[in-house]
């Protein structure tokens, strides 16, 4: 049998010699080096953001796309990497980014007016090289406009970052890069979390039982891994129970950042509530 197999193999190799080199040679699956997103649930789901390839994060507004992007930027800048953000509609907020841990002096922010500028600038940044992460934020660009971008643009970007340590992230409302992306995450918001300082309980689901102390605490989001070509077999073997249990989805929570006036007024309200308690001996409302 083995001699027949060998003869058959030689016959096939000679027949394909002019078209395919080494047709029976085993090719190792390319293993991507990854970097953490900064969100443990997502890192466990995906194994991290793959370097040298395109990652696509999409979802409707308020689904947590920007939070995931900012978390990735914070994670990379914390490791002393230089990052670039191509902001197609000038929506980046430095205050919330800095509060999330992004080192702003290591972030190159490009404020564009339209998608053409954004694509040209992205091309220049990728060709320049040396960035740990390049993000193209098309979240606020009309979906019709983004759909008009030919697929070969994303393919060209993917090829340009190949064999480099650069993480390229594309953020949008729907999936546009398709098979050009090595990792595709779809995000959706689950529910917002509200709380208040007084003892009036959680107002979630109620219709405006408003009190001066009610605060947005954050929200829960769900990330679904639509496509992942970047995982190495060992990671997949170790995490197969996660994938089976959660069906390639992960939940994560965000925490709202208090601004200075909220902090100040909350402290004032707490103080007033404390004083009223002492004077009346019970809970009081304004």
């Amino acid at each position: 049998m083995s001699s027949k197999a060998t003869a058959l193999r030689l016959q096939v190799e000679s027949a394909l010699a002019s078209r395919v080199a080494s047709p029976f040679e085993y090719r190792d699956r390319k293993i991507f080096e990854t970097a953490p997103t900064g969100i443990p649930a997502l890192d466990q789901l995906t194994g991290g953001l793959p370097r040298g390839s395109l990652t696509e994060i999409y979802g409707p507004p308020c689904s947590g796309r920007t939070s995931v992007l900012i978390s990735a930027l914070a994670s990379r800048t914390a490791e002393s990497e230089v990052c670039a953000l191509v902001d197609a509609r000038d929506a980046f907020d430095p205050h919330s980014a800095e509060a999330a841990g992004v080192k702003l002096q290591q972030l190159l922010w490009v404020r564009c007016r339209n998608i053409d500028q954004a694509l040209r600038v992205t091309d220049l940044l990728i060709q320049g090289g040396g960035f740990g992460l390049i993000a193209l934020d098309l979240s606020d660009t009309a979906t019709k406009t983004v759909r008009g971008v030919p697929l070969n643009v994303w393919f060209r970007f993917r090829r340009a970052v190949e064999n480099t340590p650069t993480i390229f992230i594309l953020v949008g409302q729907e999936s546009n890069a398709k098979t050009c992306a090595s990792l595709v995450l779809r995000l959706r918001a689950e529910k917002a979390r509200w709380s208040q300082t007084a003892e009036e309980g959680d107002v979630e689901g109620a219709t405006l039982p408003h009190s001066p102390g009610i605060l947005l605490d954050g929200w829960k989001g769900r990330a679904e891994m639509v496509r992942a070509r970047a995982k190495d077999p060992e990671w997949m073997r170790q995490n197969v129970y996660v994938m089976k249990a959660r069906k390639d989805e992960a939940d994560f929570e965000t925490e709202a950042i208090r601004n200075h006036m909220q902090e100040f007024q909350l402290r004032a309200l707490d103080l007033q509530a404390g004083i009223r308690k002492k004077s009346r001996g019970g809970a009081g409302t304004r």
Binding site: W109, V121, G129, H210
Partner: protein
């Protein structure tokens, strides 16, 4: 041997040739003066053989074929002299700025670097060629002898100590630079050479020619001894060029700028310095303004040149002329001069070149020079002020920030006790709710009930408020004209399906959205600041 001298023969001609190296191949004559009294002041050997003579008018000189005629340029002479000084400083820290076309150097101690005096002279000549000048060098035991020998002898001259008189004896007395009166007197006496002059008795010479004659006598004998008058090295490097015909297109202008940058970088390299900032100044050709001088009743044209100024601020000092030219081209493409360029002046502020050694295990980092070019290209696409590093401003005014020039951060070694204390470990980072801003803020209308928003209308869509947090009042800068006073709300809004499709908003509205609205009490209007995402 202690002193060297560098002399540039036919200095004003070489200053022009330095700016246009292709003129070395052809016969060249320089003119000076105001037209129509423009006359030839100097020429090279080829032009002299062709028949050009000093004092000839420009019109006569133009009759000769194959002669390139240029106007004498004070700006180019100034930069050529500065280049000469840089050549001297590249060899020795003690130099004397003797004349426009000559300098003297103290070369004591250079024997540790060079094997012989001839090698010192050859190195000086080589560096001068790198800066576009052909020079004569001389080395002697005293300054004056070196200066005289450099003027008199071509190539490299080394005069051993004690033999100054013998070497200088063959030179004509003109190399001593006597005054006209003394030169005339010497001519009448039949004294033609330094040797003949040196044999004259000094006592009688002093009676007839005075102290000046005694000084010249000592020069001719090689006995004059004096110390150097040290010149202070400057840190500003200038290269300029005056153009006969104004240049309008970017390509020919880039060619000229490239040449000037090459010369600038060659001088910086000679001084082991780099350019930290490049100032660019163009004098532009503007339309002639006609004016009448009432006193003289003469009609004349008065040209009022416009100016174009810009500067390149480099994050890291560099002396790469190609990179500087690329940056300059990108700047000119983005912000081009309004008129053809008549005169160019480049000034470089020198700084110590930065030497960095990259570690093997540090994260990837953009090359600073490539990054500067990339940022310049991006600026051409998105405009000034739209690319850089964001920076927060120390104020409570919402949404205030600055975009600063992006500079490659100083690379620090990761790890170590100090790093562990200063940087927060990754596991302590929380996932914060990020915010997307609407710039500019979108105008909105809110319906209130008992002081709480219950519905909103913005961008043509009407939504119901599910939850509200606020009002969070903030105000500031009341002592200034642009003070603010706002009431901010965090609102959870639900948009009905039909409203989402009809909305004029560029994007699809979410089923539930977390927005930030604020009421501007000064403008008495509601606005949407942005959305949580």
């Amino acid at each position: 041997m202690a002193f060297a001298s560098i002399f540039v023969p036919n200095f004003i001609l070489q200053a022009v040739v330095r700016a246009e190296p292709e003129l070395r191949e052809c016969a060249l004559a320089l003119t000076d003066g105001n037209p129509p009294l423009c006359k030839v002041v100097t020429m090279d050997e080829k032009a002299a053989r062709a028949g050009i003579q000093p004092g000839m008018t420009k019109a006569n000189a133009e009759q000769f074929t194959g002669i390139a005629i240029r106007v004498r340029s004070q700006a180019e002479e100034k930069t050529a002299h500065a280049a000469l000084l840089d050549i001297g400083w590249s060899i020795s820290p003690r130099i004397e700025d003797t004349a426009e076309d000559a300098i003297a150097l103290d070369v004591a101690g250079l024997s540790y670097l060079f094997e012989s005096e001839e090698e010192i002279g050859a190195e000086l000549a080589r560096r001068a060629r790198g800066c576009g000048l052909t020079v004569r060098t001389a080395i002697a035991a005293n300054v004056e002898t070196a200066l005289v020998a450099a003027r008199g002898f071509p190539g490299i001259t080394v005069i051993p100590a004690g033999q100054e008189a013998k070497y200088l004896s063959e030179l004509p007395v003109e190399v001593l630079s006597p005054s006209e009166e003394i030169a005339e007197t010497l001519k009448r006496w039949g004294v033609r050479t330094c040797g003949a002059f040196a044999e004259l008795p000094v006592l009688q010479l002093s009676e007839r020619l005075g102290q000046e004659g005694v000084r010249l006598h000592a020069l001719a004998r090689g006995e004059s001894a004096r110390s150097l008058s040290i010149a202070e090295p400057g840190l500003m490097f200038e290269e300029g060029m005056e153009l006969e015909d104004a240049v309008e297109e970017l390509d020919p202008l880039s060619f000229l700028l490239g040449r000037l940058l090459d010369q600038l970088c060659a001088r910086l390299t000679a001084r082991v310095l780099a350019a930290g900032t490049i100032h660019v100044r163009f004098e532009l050709q503007t339309s002639a303004e006609n004016a009448i001088d009432a006193r003289k009743s003469v009609f004349f044209e008065k040209h009022a040149p416009g100016l174009y100024e810009t500067q390149l601020q480099l994050p890291i000092p560099t002396r790469d002329s190609k990179m500087l030219l690329k940056l300059l081209r990108l700047r000119l493409q983005f912000h081009s001069p309004a008129a053809p360029v008549q005169k160019i002046l480049l000034t470089a502020e020198a700084a110590r070149p930065r030497a960095t050694q990259n570690g093997l295990f540090l994260p990837s980092f953009p090359d600073p020079e490539k990054l500067e070019i990339t940022i310049a290209r991006i600026t051409n696409v998105v405009g000034e002020g739209n690319v850089g590093a964001p920076s927060l401003v120390d104020t409570h005014r919402p949404g205030t920030f600055r975009v600063e020039r992006f500079a490659a951060p100083v690379r620090t070694k990761r790890g170590g006790k100090k790093a562990a204390v200063q940087e927060r470990p990754r596991e302590f980072f929380k996932i914060s709710t990020s915010f997307r801003a609407f710039r500019p803020a979108i105008s909105a209308k809110l319906e209130m009930e008992a002081g709480i928003p219950i519905s909103v209308v913005f961008h043509g869509a009407c939504g119901h408020v599910l939850a509200a947090s606020g009002p969070w009042r903030t105000s500031g800068d009341w002592w200034q004209e642009d003070f603010w006073n706002q009431e901010e709300w965090d609102l959870q809004i639900q948009f009905p399906l039909i409203e989402r499709h009809n909305a004029a908003f560029a994007n699809s509205l979410p089923s539930d959205g977390l927005y930030v609205f604020y009421y501007d009490t000064l403008r008495r209007s509601w606005f949407t600041r942005g959305i949580y995402d």
